[in-house]
Symmetry: none
Subunit: 219 residues, 4 copies
DNA sequence: TTATAAGCGAGACGGTACGTCGCGTCTTACT
DNA sequence: AGTAAGACGCGACGTACCGTCTCGCTTATAA
């Protein structure tokens, strides 16, 4: 595979560095007005605009003002229902992923083959600059806000990890903690992706699966 | 006192160096003024102020203007020698870690015992909110800027990973890629830390070491 | 002495942009809903809330939204019957003054003594910050809207001026225009009050009466 | 001869909904940064833009944001030196009037003729919608903010009144207070203008002068 | 030994985005 | 139909920082 790792982010010399946290640690604490009166039209327009802008210009250039303008919506309508940029992005991505349905993990009976598929898919997504913008955005926001981290973990991450976890259950050494097992599979990829310590290729994905299975497989 | 803290996770054997040195060398974007005339007083004040603010209010609240004010320095003096907030933070952390000395990886001959020590130390640091601010800051900046990511990886991360890599060399299965091996050890921890998917305890550290060694150990 | 107005509280407050409006009766711009179904309870609550807020925080801080909130009324109920803040205020003040009854101008037969009384009363009211808020509010709205000005002039001001005019009739030089005569008496006070060009004292009131009578009295 | 005033006013027919404002009562209290560093270019651009917008669209449509945009200036540069819209307008008008020089009051030796000229000029200005916009704006602001009132009175009004005052000195009854005398001349006009209680014509101007002189002239 | 040019502190500048307030309109559910 | 409640699109507010740009004022060579 190629090394065309892309960069969502820009050179610090040319980019107006903005504060990474627009998310104000009040994710669940938005005054929550009566949701019955909420305009579904506005909600949808906002989430759509967010995704569009995110894919067009990346997370650092995403602003509440641009979202509002693109969505044809007043800023207040955004702040009424979300606490800030991060919260909107999270919802937008949840929506996006939700539409795509739950992550499909094949069950061929062959654990190694199945895992290889999943891990390769994740690696491919991380390696693709277009696809990984959102992951990058979520990760930044996760690091910036504890509240965001919690929500993001429960709404987006956990379901995906659980899928893998369920798949491993009963198929690995009995003394192994399943959460640790999943992280053994997932963690190295994310680390390499974030730190750019090496190429994200299919070969790499396979290597990780081999190593993980070597550790997990019943003897 | 802060001198006592050492960042196991980020320790570079190298930079005790100083002077000019900002990672803007690699950037080339800054017009490189005459380093001979640079005020050491200002440089130190800036880095100190940066660390102080970082520990007081965290990375998201850190701004160039605040650094300048706290350091009693003109903003231009910052922009003259660094390309922005991220660059200053990187230098500040390099300084901080440099003072703490190189990371000590014991060599008892017992690979498992040695790794257990290192991994436990890293987990301990990540688990401590006070200590992990800096790692958090670096990670955010890494995700935000490719240039930063490169510098950070080469100057801070690589040396540390190489220390572990060297220790593993010749002591693991021959068909294992050493970079992958290191990430197998390190990645899960960082993932759990970032995503808050579980507790960061000594037991967890030991579990990771067990799993990794199960995968790596020659049969 | 007769109180033509009462008012309370002054405070030219903070910076804010507000909309002033035209008065709706004359405007005809309001779709004139069926007045038969109008809620007297709401009407009263709105006017009361308006007066209360006016006296508490002054005209610049008075907003339609605050009136509605204080009155326990939907904003639409205000906009249905009035064209905006100014119109509500005018009605509220008409109500307030109406309750106090029409201004009584004593008729002792001594023109100078009578005028002295009236002019002193007006000066006293203008000098009292608490009482002059309402005058201030009406004047601002008058300056802002021609429609309001007309209504306000006809409903509030003219009756008062006519009272004085009637008293002067036949008691001043024959060649004098009575409207000008009244303004000669009234104008200077308002000018001094608005522009704060000097103290508003009884002595001043008397001085004005003296001057005006010197101009008006038959030789 | 130059025009002593320029000012402008709003066509009553076009008035519907407008904004009134209050001046934030901190006119003299702006933190006053070092005026030595102040950019004359920016200052001039702001005042020019303010006058232009004022004459184009009137006071109610004047906003700080528009001034900044038109002047090619950051909003902060306005707020750094003024407390708000009212303060800028005041300065702009002072500048405008300052450039025109002090109000020229002819001294023909014939007091009545001279006063007739002045009063006719004022009446003409008030009667002209285009010219009286600014007077209207200043009056609203004066009524809304005590601080504004003070500054406006001292910087704009007093000089003009003093010109008339000086002219009256020694030419009127000795027992007359000169401030009251000036207000006797000026007050009725402003009252009629504001309250729209009658036409503002030359005949009216002359009538006021006749009445005032009847009161003031030594017997 | 000056002059001279660099870095320096200070902070104003043109901007962008923030999060809030209030406008006047529109919608919903209730009376 | 009028009402209480309040969301909506909009526009302006006043603030925070961005990165750039003068200003004097040291201060360390090079003339």
């Amino acid at each position: 595979m190629n090394e065309t790792r892309r960069s969502v982010s820009l050179n610090p010399a040319t980019v107006k560095t903005r504060r990474c946290v627009s998310f104000c640690d009040t994710l669940g604490a938005v005054p929550t007005p009566d949701p019955g009166r909420r305009s579904e039209r506005a909600r949808k327009a906002i989430l759509d605009a967010t995704l569009a802008l995110l894919h067009e210009s990346g997370y650092p250039d995403l602003t509440v003002e641009k979202i509002a303008a693109r969505a044809g919506v007043g800023k207040q309508t955004i702040y009424r229902w979300w606490s800030g940029r991060g919260a909107v992005v999270l919802d937008a991505l949840v929506e996006e992923i939700g539409e795509a349905g739950p992550p499909a993990l094949p069950d061929t009976g062959d654990l190694e083959a199945d895992l290889r598929l999943v891990v390769r898919a994740i690696v491919a997504e991380l390696a693709d600059p277009r696809l990984s913008v959102t992951t990058r955005a979520l990760t930044i926001e996760t690091l910036s806000s504890e509240t965001f981290a919690t929500t993001m973990r429960d709404r987006l991450l956990r379901p995906q990890l659980d899928t893998i976890k369920d798949r491993l259950r009963g198929r690995v050494r009995e003394d192994v903690d399943l959460d640790q097992a999943v992280e053994l599979l997932i963690g190295p990829m994310y680390h390499r992706w974030m730190m750019r310590t090496g190429p994200l290729t299919e070969a790499y994905a396979d290597g990780i699966v081999d190593l993980a299975l070597a550790a997990l497989r019943p003897r």
